[in-house]
């Protein structure tokens, strides 16, 4: 069974927010809420500054604390692609999953349930890329099976320097940034 993940080339990302708009349109994300977003990280001291632009979302962690802490089993790891999902009919809106996520990737949908990126599972099941990946004008986003050594994401991780976000939080995130 596949283990889906994303590889994002920060050298190509220009922060155009096409991925954000595509996600909102594809998933009908309510106004004022975001399943994905752009983070700009500037580090160093003038004049030796560096900047990394990242498109961020739920990291679909291998050790998802949001799933462990959920008291009803609404947050779960889907067998298909090991994607972390929320069953809306089981969620009581206790917000423990929001507090447990070191990436603050979740929010409470106006209808009351916890919501977040689904890797566009409805598209992936149909053999398509997630909407954010499909629309990226610089082709900086790559989606695929991390367990398949021949997949594009695996080959990129084998050949390029990369990092994940907050590895110290111990959740084993599955979104990697090429630097």
């Amino acid at each position: 069974m596949a283990r889906f993940g994303m590889v994002i080339d920060t050298a190509r990302c220009v922060g155009c927010m096409d991925c954000v708009i595509a996600c909102k349109t594809e998933n009908q994300v309510p106004e004022g809420f975001h399943r994905d977003w752009i983070t700009t990280e500037v580090s160093g001291r003038f004049p030796t500054l560096s900047m990394e632009i990242r498109t961020e979302r739920c990291n679909h962690c291998d050790e998802p604390p949001c799933v462990t802490c959920c008291p009803t089993g609404a947050s779960h790891v889907e067998e298909f692609g090991r994607i972390v999902l929320v069953n809306h009919e089981q969620c009581i809106g206790c917000k423990a999953c929001l507090a447990s996520c070191p990436y603050d990737a979740r929010f409470v949908h106006p209808d009351g349930y916890a919501d977040k990126c689904t890797f566009c599972i409805h598209r992936v099941e149909a053999g398509q890329d997630p909407a954010c990946v499909a629309v990226c004008p610089t082709r900086c986003m790559h989606f695929g099976d991390l367990d398949d050594p021949q997949s594009e994401v695996s080959r990129l991780l084998q050949s390029r320097r990369h990092h994940a976000l907050l590895p110290e939080a111990g959740t084993r995130p599955r979104i990697f940034y090429l630097s």
């Binding site: 983070t39 700009t40 959920c70 809106g93 507090a99 070191p102 929010f107 110290e168």
Partner: protein, 315 residues
């Protein structure tokens, strides 16, 4: 230096997590207070003090039921998807402290009801004579009070520890990443419950006993608080910054004045003098202890939501 800029602006999440308002601290406080009351009334039953008709163990179970129900109402008010609350009881999730808590609460109610049966209030006895007869049969059996007392103590301990573990299991918030939160909240609940008995006891010997016990609980609370902070300060940078939120940061005044000063040290000094008969017992000290327990839950819950693995400027 690192500067982060994000386009995200999700309600309750940005710019700083604030998913839990007043409801959760109130629930954790009332849960801890009831846990303490169950331990004390359970001990009174177990040790045979229930034979004293003026014992607080006849007041505590009824009060516990009222306070716990108020706490659960606060918890319910916090839920965003209220119509689905019954989903808590369609599964047991062993990794989720909240699931453990939901099931512990199911056991706590009958344990408190059994405790209440030790002496059915007269008006209730008149309306439901069967309850009175059941109570009489219970009291006649020497083992029954001991079993009910032991069950109340065990469940009270679990309930008290759970209120802390609920937070400490959320690894994304460094302030809560301490196994000491469980015992800290338990001993704080015990201290508040002892203060409640100190305040309301009709039996002078019991009031004296609980004042002495409360002094022990307050000292233990100070020790757990110190160990909790030392643990954070000697862990990662994120944990040390989280501890600074309480020590010198935006929650410093509330922590030092509301929790440590007025909530622990001042009532401890007053009660130490009172049990030595150097000053008279005053309701001010136990009232301060109870309000200090509430402020502790507010400070820990709110500061915990501010604490983060990311470096946030000015926090």
């Amino acid at each position: 230096m690192t500067e982060l800029t994000t386009t995200r602006s999700n309600p309750m999440v940005d710019p700083i997590l604030h998913v839990w308002g007043w409801e959760i601290p109130v629930y954790l406080f009332l849960g801890g207070l009831v846990a303490g009351m169950m331990l004390i009334s359970g001990y009174f039953l177990f040790s045979g003090r229930w034979r004293n008709a003026r014992s607080a163990c006849y007041v505590l179970p009824g009060m516990s039921l009222v306070l716990l129900s108020a706490g659960m109402l606060a918890l319910f008010l916090d839920l965003e998807h209220k119509a689905f609350v019954w989903r808590l009881y369609t599964t047991f999730e062993p990794g989720s402290p909240m699931s453990w808590g939901a099931w512990i609460l199911v056991l706590v109610y009958p344990a408190l009801a059994a405790n209440l049966l030790m002496r059915v209030p007269a008006p209730l006895r008149r309306r439901a004579p069967a309850l009175g007869e059941l109570s009489d049969r219970l009291v006649e059996r020497p083992a029954a009070p001991r079993w009910i007392g032991a069950t109340n103590m065990i469940l009270g301990g679990l309930l008290g520890v759970y209120t802390g573990v609920l937070l400490s299991a959320l690894g994304a918030r460094p302030l809560w990443n301490s196994a000491l939160l469980g015992p800290l909240f338990l001993v704080s609940g015990l201290s508040a419950a002892a203060a409640f008995v100190h305040l309301t006891a009709r039996d002078a010997a019991e009031r004296e006993l609980l004042a002495k016990a409360d002094n022990g609980f307050l000292i233990a609370e100070l020790v757990f608080l110190a160990l909790f902070l030392i643990g954070l300060l000697t862990a990662s940078g994120a944990h040390a910054r989280a501890a600074d939120l309480l020590l010198t940061g935006p929650f410093g005044a509330l922590f030092w004045v509301g929790v440590v000063g007025l909530g622990i040290v001042v009532p401890l000094v007053v009660q130490l003098l009172a049990v030595e008969h150097k000053v008279a017992h005053t309701p001010v000290a136990p009232l301060l202890v109870i309000s200090g327990g509430l402020v502790l839950r507010f400070v820990i819950v709110q500061a915990g939501q501010v604490s983060h693995w990311l470096r946030l400027a000015g926090l």
